[in-house]
Amino acid sequence: MQSQTIDPAKTALNYHHTEAEAHHEEHPDHRITGLIMFLVAEGMIFFGMFGAYLAFRSVLPSWPPEGTPELELLLPGVNTIILISSSFVIHNADTAIKKNDVPRMRTWLAITAAMGAIFLAGQLYEYSNLEFGLTTNLFASAFYVLTGFHGLHVFIGLVAILAVLWRSRVSGHYSNEKHFGVEAAEIYWHFVDVVWIVLFGLLYIL
């Protein structure tokens, strides 16, 4: 057993008494961190569904099940390109607001919104022209549920962008200092985009 040899620096009750510093901001803004965590959670929903899709794929003797009508590739391909490019477009809005250029930001956001709307419209058009319905077979169900769930997210993103546009009417609502809404909409939009890329790969290409 050891006798005591204690480092005085640690026994002495010498925690640093940092004089309580005032908080930098009164209400610290952690919303971006929160949003990113939320998107991690959202990502896990898609992860789970993609996992299920791959599992279904591996348990059926042939995939898509025999007799599934063909999927057109042209329209979804164009749609994909539109959605992916919109990610670059919305990034310009972010750059603009960081330079305090609200009108430019509004323009870029409006273009993004339009592209998102085209994507959704394209998707609806595709749905209405498909020869299979939700319950035709396992592939069809997975197709509708996955694209539908993603479409819902595009729709929410679209609403978010429109909300930012609406609020930016008031001058000074967004500035180079304060633009959480713009940033959040952008991050969300990128997320929706990344999910689509995986989804497109799974449903149309694989």
Binding site: A55, S58, V59, L60, P61, S62, W63, P64, E66, T68, P69, E70, L71, L73, G201, I205, L206
Partner: protein, 361 residues
Amino acid sequence: MNIPSSIWTLIVGIAVTIISLWYGQNHGLLPTAASDEAELVDGLFNAMLTISTGLFLIVEGALIYSAVRFRRRPGDDSDGPPIFGNIPLEILWTAIPAILVIGIAIYSFDVYNSIGGFNPHGVHEAPIGEQAVRMPGAAIAATLSDTPPNTDSNLNQQKSDAAMQDPATAKVRNADQIPQRQNAPGVGVVSPSIGASPDQEGTSPALTINVTGLQYAWIFTYPDTGITSGELHVPVGREVQISMTANDVIHAFWVPELRLKQDAIPGRQSEIRFTPRTVGEYKLICAELCGPYHGAMNTQFVIETPEAFEQWQQEQIANTDSQQLVAVNSADLSPAEFLAPYISDLEIQPEMLHQIHHTHH
């Protein structure tokens, strides 16, 4: 007298060891072991129980000892000694559980192997070659229906087909209404279960029995003799293979005395192999929740001498024949009607029969 603490530790250690070893052998917590496999599982359990008893005694002992020995004395409001932790001790109690756990894992692995858990019938090669055709670039141009139909053999389908060769089995299974899962690696594999133990590998079992689970009955068919029965009879000492599936929801085949359990899953074929050893009448239990009458879904499991088994088979054959005389055209019967004789064997209340219509919907 002042006994040094090391001596105390030693005495306590010996006492804990002796108690654990004794209890690990004399717990009386398990029913009869009626198969070769069951003996092995019991050995594993005894070993785990020995370790557990030791750990239990040490932790509870230390807590109770502390509560008594280190309780605050009246009037003493001072703090205890400033002990913050000790890396060597932490390492010690990280290492000991790690070693114990690895030991248990290796032992379990060995038992699992000996009862046939790794029998190759469950494992299936990944379909190679197929992936190459589906290079992303090539596929973009191709349309979906060009995906080559999967030509790999599907073990689930094969086993289902094999079982359906037997008219008795075909009659009770509605396998044609539930597509068979693809035997792919990963989640979709043919339900691997307990196959031949390594020494019997490659040999075919002495007796194969097809089992069908449905709400709320087990139906056993013996392809060799065409018997259909509501009870499971097997001769002692001969290796038996059970091939099972379910018609509606998931059920589970469990005989506690065999220490064997396997889910019967619609769309999959599960197999277990075992060698019954102890003559007797046991209970075969459905262990997976399958509806309100899940608790009543059990039946007799009889291990009998080969002579008795032979005699039982003869009786059953006679029985089946007479039934076929009465119900000449069994195809006209609804499943409920057809199954009624077997289900009455199971002492199931008549209201449960109407549940069987779930089978076909």
